[in-house]
């Protein structure tokens, strides 16, 4: 285990080009255990691309990604997940044929009992009664993400807000070291946003998860983050504590004269 002041996830000098467009240019970002790191920036700043690089879905042209001190730049998404990285998506990517509970079961087994993919075929565990430990885990997780008793609900047709909670639960089911959340509150109403914020704070505080959060709700990011990174046009224009970010002139310029931030300062 690395010390608590070493970042759990670190990206150095990330550069991504799509043809002639430089989507990310020499970007650094760090995520510390037990802390929330915010990632903000206007539309098209490269936030989602950075997420794709961090989670292994997009290979950068240059730069390195370190997960718990290991160089995972060349590791694909599956390998990074096995090392404890989990993420959600801006447009929730749920498994339409599965129930809410199945999402959690699958994510947990993928991390902790990988062999069941093969052994289930022989042992007949698909037909037999389910595992009580696993059921208890699912019930607790449902309660944690604010969906108590909804484990048997099919996800197809769920409203967006609930979908985001299911995605969060699926990410947490793998007990991640690092959790990447892509706009977890967009499409959520005020109550749901509050619930989401409470859940995230609990997870970070109790499980020591390192959390990187992309959000349009700048208020939320500045209120829960320990550090904030600001991207604009693929470049990092600022990094620091929420207070420092509020005062940063480059950030204000990027956000249309800083109106949003000034109101909160």
């Amino acid at each position: 285990m690395t010390g608590s002041d070493a970042p759990r996830l670190a990206a150095h000098g990330i550069t991504v080009r799509f043809g002639g467009l430089t989507a990310l240019d020499n970007v650094d970002v760090n995520v510390w255990p037990g802390k929330v790191t915010g990632l903000i920036g206007p539309n098209g700043a490269g936030k989602s691309t950075l997420f794709a690089v961090l989670s292994g879905l997009q290979r950068p042209a240059r730069g390195r990604v370190l997960l718990s001190g290991r160089d995972v730049t060349r590791a694909n998404a599956e390998m990074r997940a096995r090392l404890g990285l989990a993420r959600t998506f801006q447009h929730p990517e749920l498994f339409n044929d599965l129930t809410v509970g199945d999402h959690f079961r699958l994510a947990r087994r993928a991390r902790f009992s990988k062999r069941r993919v093969w052994t289930d075929m022989i042992t007949g565990r698909g037909i037999r009664e389910s595992d009580p430990d696993e059921e208890k885990f699912v019930i607790e997780l449902l309660a944690l993400v604010g969906l108590p008793g909804q484990g048997d609900r099919p996800v197809q047709g769920l409203p967006l807000g609930i979908s985001r909670l299911v995605e969060l639960g699926r990410a947490l089911a793998a007990a991640p070291n690092v959790l990447l959340l892509d706009e977890p509150t967009s499409g959520l109403d005020g109550v749901e946003t509050g619930l989401m914020a409470v859940t995230l704070e609990r997870v970070v505080a109790e499980q020591g998860v390192g959390l990187l959060i992309v959000e349009h709700d700048v208020d939320l990011v500045l209120s829960i983050s320990a550090r904030v990174t600001v991207l604009d046009f693929g470049a990092r224009i600022a990094e620091g504590t929420p207070d420092a970010i509020r005062r940063d002139p480059a950030v204000r310029a990027a956000y249309l004269g800083g109106k949003i931030l000034e109101d909160n300062a």
């Binding site: 997940a81 069941r116 979908s163």
Partner: protein
Amino acid sequence: MLGYVIAGLVLGAIYAAAAAGLVVTYVSAGVINFAFGSMAFVIARFYYWLVVTLGWSTLPAAILALLLVSPVLGIGLWFLVFRQLQLQPQLVRIVVTVGLGVALPPVAFLMFGVEATPQAVGLVREPSPVLHLLGTVLNLNQLIVLVLVAALLIAGTVLLRFTTAGLRIRALVDSQALSSLSGTDPARVSAAVWAGSAVLAGLVGILVAPTNGLDVGPMTSLMASAFAAVVAARLTSLPVAVLVSLGMGVASGLVQFALPANSPLAAAVLPSIPFVIMLIFLLVYVAQGGRSRDRLLGGALDKAIAPVTTLLHAGAGRKYRRSSRRRRTCTGVAVVVLAVVLPPTLNEYWLGLAAQGLAYGVVFLAFTLVTGEGGMIWLCVATFAGGGAVIVAQLTTVLGAPLLLSVLVAAVSMGVVGMLIALMTLRLGDLFVSLATLSFGLLVETLVFSLPTISNYNAGVAVPRPEFAVSDLGFSYLCIAVLVIVGLFVVNLRRSTAGLALSAMRSSETATRTLGISVIHIKIIVSGLAAFIAGLGGVLLAMYSTTAAPESYLTFSGLIWIAVLVTVGVRSVGAAVLAGLLFAVMPGVFNTYLPPALGQLPPFLFGLGAIGLAANPNGVLATHARQISHGIERLLRRTRGGHERLFTDDDAAPADEVHSIPAGR
């Protein structure tokens, strides 16, 4: 030699016409038309009827068939079928066109009769005048082919590249919704494309009928050969498709030049050429890594306004409900009890058919596994079944090996072949899997199943039944036992971790990967298991008729099997058994109780059922079964006072909310 090259070019031109007909509809509508061969057959059969039965001369017959009937057929099919496929999942598109391919030939048989059609006529009656050109001989038919195809391709290219209509077609590819907003009527453009494709199909059909025979099989084979060019073109590039087609034709010509005519080697090499070319390109694409452009067409707007559909899966989410689980177990037990009690009450004829149906049920479970769970549409399940049967026949009757061991060897070897095919095609996407498996099936049919030792002049080689199941009654119990074991295996797999992972994969590959699951291994194993089961079922089928006759395992018959199965439902074990029984018993019912002219009706109905998937992606019967069970549940709930009405499907938000894009994004 020049003569062989020119003959090759003529063949290549026919391939090119077929490949072009397939590519244009893929480019404009995102549909690979697996019914292309059947369309070719229907039009060629119509032309034959005009020329041979009615005695028309060839020119007016060709004009009527190609310039009037073909476009009408194309537009009609577009209106009835293809139009509905625009935003359907790829799997639905494949199955629907396969269903159409199954349903069309019976229509031709019903209209023009089922009698044999020897001496099909090309565009010019034989003996056609012979031309001397560059020191070689060219008959008029060949010249017409070359000129017509060249003219069509040039006209098509000019149309697509340089005209407003072409621009509209290309715009349609990107987004139907947006191009209709910009004042193009997508309907008219699509209809025109399908009409053009049908004309190409008709042309191909008429041209190949004299040499390859006027039947569905040869037409399907020709379409599969053209698939090689379509694959080489990555489904989209018309020029590449045409060039590769011509190349394949010339290669065939050169092979005929180099090898002695009618030698077994030439007979083996010639049909393999397209398959080898497809194999090479598949390998190249796999080596290049990444999925090829097997994409769903349509822009963001199309997706936003599309209805939410997943293939054949709705209701799967209820699987963990305890009550429903208990109910399912009860139903299962009841069915098994019924199956044990019922057979002795049937008379010999129906018992035989039922036993055969149960054997088909086992084969269909392979499809339930590979498609229902694995999400891959294999068009060569019949080949695996036939392969199993043929191996057992060879091992037992020819080599004298013990039966049980032979069955095991046969099923395992099919499993290995299945895994190899999965390995080759998986990374390329659903469409490539279907294209490659169809070609594979046809290749095995022409190369392996036709070997004298295997086909035994179409009589087949004997396959014994096990000693304890010699009677039809004993045999049906054997089939039931195998069905129960395989069925339990499939049910277990679906609810196991691997099943969850496969379900996940069908919805979102990206999200599945970020959970740390790579589904490719699971899919390969599932492919192997499915091929194993298909081989096993094929052995049972052979045991039923006590011969392994390759005629019973034609690739085209396999397409009918698929149509039957998807009509009933591809996601449940019960549906597979029901489909097997239906497939075996329905023709019996028709033969017994209806006039023989209607004998073609069952395959037509099965094909129609598969087409119905376009409107009803859950399978026609599955949907009604669900409605009925919903109705019963609602009634029960009402009698109980409605307390249990929490979190059922009815409460879920309307489907269109799923894709609604929140403001402020």
